[in-house]
């Protein structure tokens, strides 16, 4: 299938960057789902991964660093017909945007969150990110990163996310499938995508990930929260990829009293007679 309708101009990424395959997978997933590019909204903050919306033919909103989730959920609240995808990096999502990450899981607006997790800050040239491994030496963490790395799938499941997956940019067919499931999920869906940074992360390389990741098979039950928590903690010599946790529950739009009727918020009109009644109530 041709992804031409989602294709746009050249990128500012380093040759060999994992972002290229993630972008390919995204275009393929959207094309295979039959999405109309004019009804797709790509949202990001700032960073190397956050440039993804610039490289795909769709509506895009590249806002502030760390603040992509609030803007994205509000855009979806405004217009349910948009397919809203936040596509950005680990620093944007988990560092500057950490508070929004936790609370938008709780909000459960039907958006998809793809995190290019290369365990490093790329655009600012190689400082530790929230997911950097302990001991990683960088120009700032000169004697090695001392902080415990954040485990995004573990945190997301604990916070109540209904769809939590981990993917790998080196396994495109698998990633496309994850992306499609995440986009189709009614509610907040997270795909944490392991991705090498060829310029700044010399530890978590393509080979590093490729030798460790394995696909979760049919025998794994993603609906069991306790085993999902255990599975999400498996991050060492072996790293599982696939849907780690899945729980269907009512999304924001299905619960919100104003949006429940299915009329997109932006199409609602203020009835002057209702406003007149409000005015009269103060008389």
């Amino acid at each position: 299938m041709s992804t031409a309708s989602f294709t746009t101009y050249d990128t500012a990424w380093c040759p060999g960057c994992g972002n290229f395959s993630i972008l390919d997978c995204l275009k393929t997933a959207l094309t295979e789902l039959g999405k109309d590019p004019y009804e797709v909204l790509m949202v990001a903050g700032i960073g190397q991964a956050a440039k993804t919306p610039q490289y795909i033919s769709a509506n895009n909103f590249c806002g502030l660093h760390g603040r992509s989730l609030p803007a994205a959920v509000a855009a979806k609240i405004a217009n349910e017909k948009l397919t809203v995808i936040v596509d950005t990096g680990d620093g944007d999502s988990y560092g500057e945007g950490g508070n929004h990450f936790i609370h938008n899981i709780r909000r459960n607006v039907n958006i998809t969150h793809f995190v290019h997790d290369n365990q490093i800050y790329g655009l600012t040239k190689g400082q530790a990110s929230p997911t950097s491994i302990e001991g990683l030496i960088t120009p700032v963490q000169v004697s090695g990163n001392m902080n415990t790395p954040l485990n995004p799938p573990l945190l997301a499941i604990a916070a109540g996310a209904g769809f939590v997956a981990r993917g790998f940019s080196g396994n495109k067919a698998h990633l496309i499938s994850l992306m499609k499931q995440a986009i189709e999920f009614d509610g907040y869906a997270l795909v944490d995508i392991l991705q090498p940074c060829v310029s700044f992360n010399k530890v978590n390389t393509f080979t590093y990930y490729n030798s460790r990741v394995y696909e979760l098979d049919e025998a794994y039950d993603p609906s069991n929260k306790v085993s999902a928590l255990e599975k999400s903690m498996e991050f060492g010599d072996r790293i599982p990829i696939g849907v780690i946790y899945r729980e269907d529950k009512p999304s924001f739009h299905r619960k919100n009293m104003i949006l429940k009727d299915g009329i997109p918020l932006l199409d609602k009109k203020t009835d002057p007679s209702v406003v007149q009644q409000m005015i009269d109530s103060f008389i």
Binding site: Y9, N59, A78, N79, I102, I258, I283
Partner: protein, 556 residues
């Protein structure tokens, strides 16, 4: 003009008693102005409400009291000096005062006879109605707004009991406000937003702005508005911008501390040209300051907030009608120019209630985004135009891509570092100011055309300044006038420039320590004030206080 104070501890029901009373007085025709002075606590402390009413327009408070309703001993001790010699101090018989003005009522016995210990507020309402020569006509209608159905009868009985145990002291005067509204400044502002077609409001609770979120939430289903309590103020403003980008008219509100967190996003609205209305209900800073009190010290802050340069408009709301109509206008300007509009209110105006003519919905007009692109060539979100305004499409509503970027961008909305594009884009955005300046509203002129002393102020001091000019001119006819700014940034300079020629004295009256408006006038009109009346104790200045300070401090 009459003035009464109801005081007691937090949790004693002052709020409800005052709300019932102000509505009854309004229904009987009076102009009413009510100010709430409360501490940042849920129980205890000393809180009071001032209700001023009469047959002349009243837009500010006064501490000269005709009556005091004291729910505890402390209220009598603090406020008895403010009560006029002919005034009264209404209290329970257990209050230990031997003041000759005291009207002691055995609330306990009356309540026991009625069969409910919590009706003392209603007894007091009855006493007051009688003292001021009012009838009982509207009691049951008004009570039904504030009291649960099951308690209405018992409260009507309590009002009657109170009504019957005292004699009339004052004369009822016929007024014209019976069919007017009475509401707080924050409710008026919220109604303005609803009337303007607000679809999305996001905020984080912060005094004194929370009442806006509460009112909008209460009416959200009827009005079709999503009200979202955000995880923090940064989320709140980024949500409002996201919703606005996607086509839902959006607003966020806060006080100074929350505004500080929204600062970066203000620039996003400016650079990405996304309409945004931000309300700052000011309270005294810095930081936590005095959470439940009032100040006008965020003016310079909101004018300069955010890095870089972009057009914005700051409107200070001056009174209750302004709070409604200027909010509507804020949405219109935001959409028309695709910029952030900042509405400056404060605790005084936000929490005070006043009588105002019913808002006129036929005066509502708000610009809409473009619905389609039928110009030449492809649709470009940031197309260069003569007036700097590019057609704004809503994503998903047409077969065009709507781009938005916080990086400097091309006409298509793509990141660029081109020096040439940068200059053209900056010029395009700043050019919008030329058109904006043509529709700025000059300050209101109050007072005598033959003035020699000109007071200048902005925002909520409109009421006190108006009263001060009246008091001063009564003493020295034809000597005083005032200009009170609503649109304050960009600063409209025509009026001040003209009036300054005639003025011997120019006195700025502000609720801050540094005279922020005076600085702006000097910067943009090149006019220096001759003296300043500044107040920053968290309590709104009264007309009497301004008049007194002008008489003492300004040589005429």
């Amino acid at each position: 003009m009459y003035n009464i104070l109801i005081g007691g501890a937090a949790g004693q029901g002052i709020e409800t008693t005052a709300a019932i009373l102000e509505k009854l007085l309004k229904k009987s025709g009076y102009y009413v102005f009510t100010v709430r002075d409360f501490m940042s606590r849920v129980r205890g402390g000393h809180n009071f409400t001032l209700i001023r009413f009469g047959t002349e327009p009243v837009m500010s408070h006064s501490y000269r009291l005709d009556g005091l309703i004291a729910l505890n001993d402390e209220t009598v001790e603090i406020h008895k000096v403010q009560v006029s010699p002919e005034g009264f101090i209404l209290c329970d018989s257990t209050i230990a005062t031997d003041d000759p003005r005291a009207i002691k009522i055995d609330m306990k016995a009356i309540s026991a006879a009625i069969g409910n210990p919590r009706v003392s507020g209603s007894i007091a309402v009855g006493v007051l109605l009688k003292l001021f020569g009012e009838n009982m006509d509207h009691v049951s209608t008004v009570l039904s707004e504030f009291v649960k159905d099951t308690f209405i009868d018992i409260n009507i009985k309590a009002v009657s009991e109170g009504y019957n145990i005292v004699d009339r002291r004052f004369e009822h005067l016929p007024g014209k406000c019976g069919d007017w509204m009475i509401l707080t400044g924050s409710n008026a502002l919220s109604l303005g937003a609803i009337a303007a077609g607000l679809r999305f409001y996001s905020a984080y609770p912060m005094s004194p702005s929370t009442t806006i979120m509460e009112y909008l939430a209460e009416e959200s289903e009827k009005a079709g508005i999503v009200v979202e309590q955000a995880e923090d103020e940064i989320a709140a403003v980024n949500m409002a911008i996201g919703a606005s980008y996607a086509g839902a008219r959006a607003m966020t509100g806060t006080s100074g501390g929350g505004f500080a967190l929204k600062v970066e996003a203000l620039g996003l609205s400016g650079l990405a040209e996304i309409p945004l209305v931000v309300v700052d209900v000011q309270r005294p800073g810095p930081v936590t300051g005095l959470p439940t009190r009032t100040e006008q010290s965020d003016l310079r802050f909101v004018i300069h907030a955010s890095q870089g340069e972009f057009p914005r408009v700051v409107i200070a709301v001056r009174h209750h009608a302004d709070a409604f109509y200027q909010t509507v206008r804020a949405f219109d300007l935001a959409e028309k120019y695709q910029i952030p509009i900042i509405l400056l209110s404060d605790q005084y105006l936000g929490d005070a209630s006043a009588t105002v003519e019913p808002f006129d919905l036929t005066r509502i007009h708000v610009a809409e985004p473009a619905s389609s692109w039928d110009g030449e060539g492809e649709y470009l979100r940031y197309r260069y135009t003569d007036d700097g305004i590019s057609p704004r499409l809503i994503p998903g509503k047409s077969a065009n891509f709507v781009a938005s970027d916080s990086d400097e961008h091309t006409q298509e909305g793509r990141i660029t570092e081109s020096a040439e594009v940068r200059i053209r884009m900056m010029d395009k955005r700043m050019k919008k100011l030329e058109k904006i300046k043509l529709e700025l509203q000059e300050p209101d002129f109050i007072g005598s055309d033959s003035f020699s002393t000109l007071l200048v102020g902005w925002g909520s001091t409109y009421g006190p300044i108006t009263e001060a000019v009246r008091i001063l001119n009564a003493k020295d006819p034809g000597t005083y006038a005032a200009l009170v700014f609503g649109d304050i940034y960009p600063l409209p300079t025509q009026q001040i420039t003209q009036k300054a020629v005639q003025a011997v004295n120019i006195v700025n009256v502000e609720q801050n320590a540094t005279g922020q408006l005076a600085g702006l006038i000097r910067e943009y009109a090149g006019i220096a004030v001759t003296s300043s009346i500044l107040k920053y104790d968290g309590r709104q200045i009264t007309g009497e206080e301004i008049a007194d300070r002008v008489s003492r401090e300004v040589r005429t």
